[in-house]
């Protein structure tokens, strides 16, 4: 009995998917799936997983750096139409460049149409940055300590080493979080440090794949020339460093290839 039932279901599924497919050819889509792939470069030179701990890059301040680990959160991708109407894909993706985990395929479909802006949040908005709330991020040990730093999650963990005329392979931990004056209790400055990234206008008529590019060199460059001799480790409790990271992050992301 069970097997017959399963057979019926399988046939039913197959037939319905069949008819779905036929429909595609006949009428235009009202909804589309979105997927995002994250690529990384150093001033246009592509960065691959194999570059970690291998390739040296020169930052704006003249240090040679190698990367050990790079992972960051993007969240709440939002599609906004000219009339102000918007659709937000609530949720987040932990992009783990070190481990080649670079694709975000949200379940939710969005209405097709012309959008004046496709944007996302790098990091987490304050209302989403809830201590311990996300079991997958906890499992990835992406947390920010609660008592002294106010909890929530890292926006980015970027670890590596730098070399210049005075030091060789000195460590840096470019960890970006919500700016906080560490203490018991911690005090948050008013300025947020997450970043809203606008990828620009897009007309979406079908399932779409959007490449999001990160130029890692930008974190060290613009507007603040990052001096690793001064700002290298223990940056999480350094509210000023967090605000500088936010400024340098403004032009880190860009739109790559779009296919649909």
């Amino acid at each position: 009995m069970k097997k017959i039932f399963a057979l019926l279901i399988i046939s039913a599924i197959t037939f319905t998917s069949c008819s779905d497919d036929n429909d595609d050819n006949l009428k235009t889509k009202t909804e589309a799936k979105t997927s995002f792939n994250f690529t990384h470069n150093w001033d246009d030179t592509a960065i691959a997983g194999s570059d970690f701990e291998n390739t040296q890059y020169t930052n704006a301040n003249g240090e040679m750096i190698t990367m050990t680990r790079l992972r960051y959160i993007i969240s709440d991708v939002t599609f906004t139409k000219a009339n102000g109407e918007s659709t937000t894909i609530e949720g987040y993706k932990l992009v783990d460049v070190t481990n080649d985990d670079l694709n975000y395929n949200p379940e939710m479909k969005i209405p097709t149409g012309a959008y004046t802006s496709v944007s996302f949040t790098y990091g987490l908005k304050h209302e989403d940055n809830i201590d311990g709330a996300y079991t997958d991020l906890n499992s990835a040990s992406f947390n920010v300590p609660m008592a002294a730093l106010g909890g929530g999650y890292h926006y980015m963990q970027f670890d590596g080493k730098y070399t210049n005329s005075t030091v060789t392979d000195a460590p840096f931990n470019y960890h970006h979080i919500r700016a906080v004056n560490a203490g018991m209790p911690p005090v948050f400055p008013d300025q947020p440090t997450f970043i809203t990234v606008d990828l620009g206008a897009m007309t979406i008529s079908d399932d779409i794949t959007i490449e999001v590019k990160m130029n890692v060199a930008e974190w060290f460059k613009n507007p603040n020339t990052w001096d690793l001799n001064v700002l290298n480790q223990v940056l999480m409790p350094n509210a000023n460093a967090q605000l500088l990271m936010n400024q340098n992050g403004q032009n880190v992301f860009g739109l790559g290839t779009v296919t649909q």
Partner: protein, 355 residues
């Protein structure tokens, strides 16, 4: 194009149908026995890894437990898994490296066994060379300085044993014993070894209160300028107290044991070992992959002033040129008190885990 797919599905369904028509010789099914996930894990971290082809059953776990404690798996039947993984030591032993069957010591410290189903990457051993619990369980039996046996002999002995064939039938619906089924049973038992009832866990659940010293020790652990242990060893929201990832934490400037590097062949991985969980440290001395530190004080002194530089040292380590961040005596004592609050005495005495 779609049509062949339907046919394929139909064929698949029909063939599974016909299989079903042959009368079942065995109607018996082992009793499913899902892991009891502690509340603190349920609330904080994602589900454990249970392979689809080896579901937990009451009979499988019981068989695995018997095998784990049975010296029949070793060449001269003097040594079981439990010799090096003893319940009183949170399933490790108390020597720096382990005394194998012929009195020869290996080069690695035995590892405690608990919360193994939450090792999401499923890379086991200090260097990650074992890619699942099922595969790991095959290794010690054949290792000449561990149990020094071979699987053909072991399978023969189990097959002619008065009890095992029936226990395998109950667990796996077959009396034909194989090394794969033996390993599956052991892995099922290992997955039940769950430890989540330390003082710290109970404090998290509102059932105990940390002393001010333990609380300050946690702050040292979580302070980037002091311990900064949390980037590798978990935090109150990741109660595994490990990331299960491979790092060089600065033990040596040159490596006699390459660790992960010997497994991947990548020199950038030399000297990297898996971060161990900090649970149950009260019972798992000595510490590190080679058991070089016999006390927690030595471990803390090492992180505070004994770091050694090398090309693969993790960039999370601080002030390496000065040996470390030089914790004050008070911070060291507090850190130790906090670490000990992660030990779970009930894990040692759980009747389900005794021989």
């Amino acid at each position: 194009m779609k049509n062949w797919f339907i046919y394929l599905l139909l064929i698949v369904s029909v063939s599974s149908c016909s299989k079903d028509d042959t009368p079942d010789t065995e109607v018996y099914e082992p009793t499913p026995n899902s892991l009891e996930i502690p509340a603190i894990f349920e609330q904080n971290i994602i589900a454990p890894v249970i392979p689809n082809n080896n579901p937990q059953t009451i009979e499988g776990v019981a068989l695995g437990k018997k095998l784990f404690f049975d010296p029949i798996l070793s060449g001269d039947e003097t040594m079981s898994c439990a010799n090096c993984h003893s319940p009183q030591n949170a399933f490790t032993d108390n020597t720096p490296t382990s005394d194998g069957i012929n009195g020869v010591f290996g080069n690695r410290n035995s590892m405690p066994l608990f919360n193994l189903a939450w090792n999401y990457g499923e890379r086991f051993a200090w260097d990650g060379k074992e890619l699942s619990l099922e595969r790991q369980a095959l290794e010690p039996v054949q290792n000449t300085i561990e149990m020094n046996s071979n699987w053909d002999d072991v399978v023969n002995k189990l097959q002619t044993h008065p009890e095992y064939p029936e226990l395998f039938r109950k667990a796996f619906k077959t009396t034909t014993i194989t090394k794969e089924l033996t390993a599956k049973a052991i892995a099922q038992f290992e997955r039940t070894l769950i430890s989540a009832n330390s003082k710290f866990d109970r404090a998290d659940q509102g059932l105990a209160t940390l002393t001010p010293q333990e609380q300050n020790g946690l702050n040292v652990f979580l302070d980037e300028a002091k311990g900064d242990c949390f980037h590798c060893h978990g935090n109150p929201n990741n109660p595994l107290w490990t990331d299960n990832i491979f790092h060089n934490n600065g033990l040596d400037s040159t490596f006699s044991d390459l660790g992960l590097g010997a497994v991947t062949g990548d020199p950038n991985d030399n000297g990297k070992f898996k971060s161990p969980s900090l649970r149950n440290l009260a019972y798992t001395a000595p510490y590190m992959h080679d058991g070089r530190f016999s006390t927690l004080d030595e471990v803390i002194d090492f992180y505070s002033e004994g770091l050694q530089n090398s090309s693969t040292i993790d960039p999370l380590m601080k002030k390496v040129d000065q040996g470390g961040v030089q914790l004050s005596d008070q911070d060291k004592a507090d850190l130790k008190a906090f670490l000990l609050s992660l030990s779970d005495p009930s894990f040692l005495t759980n009747p389900d885990f005794q021989n």
